[in-house]
Symmetry: C2
Subunit: 307 residues, 2 copies
């Protein structure tokens, strides 16, 4: 089994009510790989970085079974950079600066050695790039999941529709689901979006948990009530990484197993937000993850039988 | 066993994105009684109405085991009236008009026949009135729960603190918990509020579910994802009624049973919002409630063991 991850590997500078980071390593594919590598290996990364990207960070991921053959390094260019500020309500954020740099003309190349992939996670990037990766993979993976954002709905809806028609699982947040569907009710939004292509829709609601829909069923996963959400950057990508890591590990595409995947993703995201950037993801162990999964179980378990 | 409910019985006029009601019967104690009477009887009501309050509504509640001896009728005065407007995000609302009418000089009187009460639900009213009821009950009930709102935190904090010191369960929404505690994090807010008196805190998050805290544990109950929240008026009171109805029925004050009480409350609230005012609460049967409880169970059940 192998999982291909495509997404940014980049720098972030983050301000939250609890502090301010320097320029630290981030990017969707970075978080996805850190998270998914707890559950499945190898992970085959597709991304692009500039000469400024720290080799040490690449090595740390390689040591976790993340293959970098598909990561283009452009020595004379700079990596993608994003800076943003969060407020007390961490579900919203202000972008302070975006520098596309290497991303501005990125054309992904899927190496021949990636062709055996069974699972594909399309991190948030332009639908044009996501589509290019899908087309380069000769044998359709067992499961294709994607993340996207409102920016692409505003600027590249026609390409986005093409990608949606080719995927199995769409992972977006509540405001994105509302924008994509034109429906305020998330139940109605799900119905509209599932008609666009994906068989499953995961709607992330930040501190309010996540919903999984298919045509007939719905599942609700809570978020762990935390004393502080220190830095939510990457939480959504970490969630997606946990979800896809679990699916790739189990190779079970049933709704029941997707539910477990969402709990895994939620558990991973609950670690991510405890410290700046990927710091916490680099610390945690298998037993930390197991213990947190149990906390999720305890958080929502009740006995309806006695009522 | 008996449950005393204190709160308004009143008129509301409601605008939502889905329609506009006439002046319809509402009030915290009305919703609480409709909801709780599915689980426990008799319910002993304490409230005040004007000569304009429809006798038929009183009769309908009496037929469900709600005793009206403690409801003062002031024939020459008018009932409390509230009108408000909801937007697509039903967690927030604008008050268009409030007429205190009979409520402006309401002094509750606890009838002698109410003195056997085991459970007391203090619906949202001035802390002065809530305190007066507590003081009139000679033998402390097994469990006292209260609802309150930001208005009393702004205008009657000193009285509110006195009530908080005398109750077991506080039921408020997330913004109220933040205001009462001065903490944005709900986990931190719970710690502060539990020091003010109550042993249990329930934080309602509208469409995002509810949290139950005691000093050591936390439980998360989802809200049912609904196609439309038609009218959220009374949902919080209906929740409280379901919770207290379940507790009064089972007489079990353990954390485990409080969890079930919250699911009962959430199920009842999910009916309430389906139609204007108390309409839906008047229609539902025991099997409707049972079926919905099962939907809550299905919504959050997952098997962590296989991960």
């Amino acid at each position: 089994m192998s999982l291909i991850v495509i997404g940014t590997m980049a720098f972030d500078a983050i301000e939250t009510p609890f502090g301010k980071s320097n320029r630290i390593v981030g990017g969707a594919a970075t978080y996805i790989a850190w998270s998914a590598s707890n559950f499945t290996r190898p992970i085959k990364q597709i991304s692009v970085v500039g000469g400024d990207f720290p080799m040490q960070e690449m090595k740390m991921l390689e040591a976790r079974g993340v293959i970098m053959e598909g990561v283009q390094v452009k020595p004379n260019e700079r990596s993608f950079f994003w800076s943003g500020r969060y407020h007390l309500d961490m579900n919203a954020r202000d972008t302070l600066e975006t520098q596309l740099n290497v991303l501005s003309d990125f054309e992904p190349i899927v190496p021949a050695s990636y062709q055996d992939c069974e699972f594909l996670m399309l991190g948030n990037l332009s639908p044009h790039i996501q589509l290019s990766v899908i087309k380069q993979i000769e044998k359709r993976p067992k499961l294709v999941a994607m993340d996207t954002m409102n920016f692409w709905m505003d600027t590249a809806m026609s390409d986005l529709e093409k990608v949606l028609a080719k995927i199995d699982v769409l992972i977006i947040n509540d405001s994105e689901a509302r924008q994509l569907s034109g429906q305020y009710s998330l139940v109605k939004a799900a119905k509209v979006i599932l008609k666009m292509g994906p068989e499953y829709l995961i709607i992330k609601k930040g501190e309010h948990g996540a919903l999984l829909f298919d045509e007939k069923q719905v599942f609700f996963a809570p978020a762990l009530p935390l004393e502080d959400v220190f830095d939510p950057t990457g939480a959504g990508d970490t969630f997606a990484g946990g979800f896809m890591g679990h699916i790739a590990k189990t190779k079970d595409l049933s709704f029941e197993n997707m539910k477990r995947g969402i709990i895994v993703g939620s558990a991973m995201a609950s670690f991510c937000v405890e410290k700046f950037g990927t710091t916490r993801l680099k610390e945690i162990t298998a037993s930390d993850i197991e213990e947190r999964m149990q906390r999720f179980k305890d958080l929502v378990s009740f006995d309806v039988g006695l009522v």
